[in-house]
């Protein structure tokens, strides 16, 4: 039982220990002040927001590619007329490019 408790504490506490070690090494290098940790958290939050935006755009991109393929399959299996297919396909590709542009802008911001 003690071994299990120890394992649980190890598993659950690992991120906290990592963060403390990270904060400790930073504080050792500069002045021992809280604002440094605060700035670190703030930039981490920004990074997380960027990551979230990227993930959202990547998911939207995959969904849009799937829609383009589905539309082409609908056309090739006779569910869409040529005119309808071209109109919808153009819309979808334009939407896809918008997403790709936003992803590229995000990448350059992140860089």
């Amino acid at each position: 039982m003690l071994a299990l408790v120890g394992l649980v504490v190890l598993v659950v506490g690992a991120p906290l220990r990592r963060a403390r070690r990270g904060d400790g090494s930073r504080l050792g290098a500069s002045s021992p002040s809280q604002p440094a940790a605060g700035v670190e958290r703030s930039s981490r939050r920004e990074h997380d927001a960027l990551q979230a935006a990227r993930a959202e755009l990547e998911a939207a991109r995959e969904a849009k590619y799937r829609e383009i393929r589905d539309t082409e399959l609908d056309y090739r299996t006779g569910k869409l007329s040529r005119d309808d297919y071209q109109a919808i396909d153009a819309d979808l590709r334009a939407e896809a490019l918008t997403i790709l542009d936003r992803l590229e802008r995000l990448s350059s911001t992140d860089a």
Binding site: V12, A19, A52, A59, I68, T71, K79, A90
Partner: protein
Amino acid sequence: MAGLGFACLVLALVVCVYGIAASLYGVRSGRVEFSESGRRSVYALALVLTAAMAVLEVAFLRNDFAFNTVADTSSRTTPSFYRAAAVWSSQEGSLLLWAWLMSLWSSLALFLTRKRLRDVAAYATAIMLGFGGFFVSLMVFYANPFATTHPAPPEGAGLDPLLRFPTMMIHPPMLYSGYTLCTIPLAFGMGALLARRVDADWIKAIRRFAFAAWLFLGAGILLGARWSYSELGWGGYWGWDAVENASLMPWLTGTAFLHSLMIQEKRGMLKVWNVSLVLATGTLAIMGTFLVRSGILNSIHAFGGQTLGVPFVVLIAVLIAGSIYLVVSRREMLRSEHRLDSLVSRESMFLLNNLVLVGLCFVIFWGTYFPLISEALTGQEASVGPPWFNRYTVPLALILVLLSGIAPVIAWRRATLANFRRNFTAPIVCALLALVALLAAGIPEKPLALTMFCLAAFVLGSVGQEFYRGARARRAMAGEPLALAVLALVRRNRRRYGGYIVHVGIAVLFVGVAASSSFQHASELALSPGQSTRVGAYQIRYVRSTATITPKYDEAHTGSTLSLGALLDVTKNGRHVATLDPSEGFYASGEASQGSVGSLIGGQPVSHVAMDAGFTRDVWTAIQPDIEAPALQRIVKIGNSTLPPADAIVAIVALAHAYVTHPPQAQFHFIVSPLILWIWLGGAIVVGGALIAIWPAPSVVRRRVAVRSRARAVRGLARV
């Protein structure tokens, strides 16, 4: 050992409380290390509950009757397989199974989303740990699976004979996996609302888990139906029992969610609807769990005795109130991004399909809960039986099958009338051909059943057309042989073609249901050896009586002391079809007041049906031997008065001999049901299709597809 198990539960509770606090603190303060620690709490919960489960399994396998659950549901004579599975045949053990499975699935969900949806996942973690904490609390404070009695009894009561059936042992883990998987999308749904992120990434994260929940729940429901048909003595597979209904409702709303999720993914529409569906599905799963444990049901499925109703009612009330608050307060961010392009589109069909599915769920909900509420308020027993359910569900099921045939042949966004006509010709022809063939074959006119058969033919026609045209298009582009073209088509479009296969499975299943319900021949009568009867096109003759005594002849491990049955010869048009041996098992009751012999056979008898299953029909038989016959009861009385318990088996042998040599009339139940096998076959097809739809493409293929798609997207615009 019991102490170790209970200590695991307490540790699990502590982990849940810590994890909830850490996750919420982490997400509110932006301190990622606490959110991460909260996520790891879920892994730790899975670890601790695995240890607890292992302790209980070992107790069962070692016949440690100091454990109350082991003493109540197992015995030395219970075969090892059933002993291992008996863990979840009690209230306490099933709660542990529920919590354990939930912790495993939650761990998997959080591991797979560990690099995404940080803020959503943190809230979802807290909610999942909330569920975990709830179930662990029930075990710690109300229903402890590690409760013991000292001194330990020398023998256990044994497993309920009704549960000594392989599918009945797999049915709870499958069903509980379905229920617990339903809580994952619910947790992520609430998390998304709390974090204000109901977007494409959220859909991608929960889609697979919603699908897995649907798959496991469906498989669990089918396994339960199979057990009901094969083991219980009434010959049916679905009785609109409250507990059956409770598992069907989240499956219906889950089906609706999987369809409307595609609309949100493509068109950014139905966000409120989808979020509401996912919350409703999770809540219905909890309500289903509540029904079985609340003590308000007297059902074969229910855990009798203890009532956990009040805690569950509180949890359900919190879920409903919380869901409504979140949806209403976040309605601005849930506005649709687009409108429907056309009423004649796949989106419209999916919307209609959603309305039908939710309508079905509502009908079943009303029929299930209204009598319970009415009885609780008025004190008078109220009941709603199969005729009421069938009256409303059958028409809705017909519409559902129709829509499942229409949707595959209609385009996303909009369909033109010319294409509409072209695409529906073949499926309609299939339906008409089916109607003509059925009428020409002299199938009796039952409008609803015939309609279902024709609609199923329509579905097969439309899906077959899709496969054919898709393969043809693939061949035109890639020049592959037909078989390879079909494989490549399915591999590249798993979701679409996996979904089509699911539709075929559902159609086949409904054909089985319609045929077996509408064209069944049944007969209940008393027969003596040598007598015969006609059931449908079959002649059934009672050849002779049979008797078996444990342990020597108990090959099926039924555990019955005495099994009385019959040998039946089934013929059709003079040709031998099958030999069947139904029996009824008589079990020990453990009641000394019944006498030394009476207590060996005084327990609840259990029917062991015999059937000849075929592709076109099942011949199903059950027997109720007359153990109360004077000649047999005389043996029991003499044995009770002259034999001590250690020698009572002698009287059982005499009973068996008397039954074989001078059998009294026995009551028989015969059923000839067409196409019952199609129900299980349809279910297997549904599972196969779902696995294809849910299977991820290999990452290399995904990257290649993404690169190709991007290049084509750019080229396409350059062309325009």
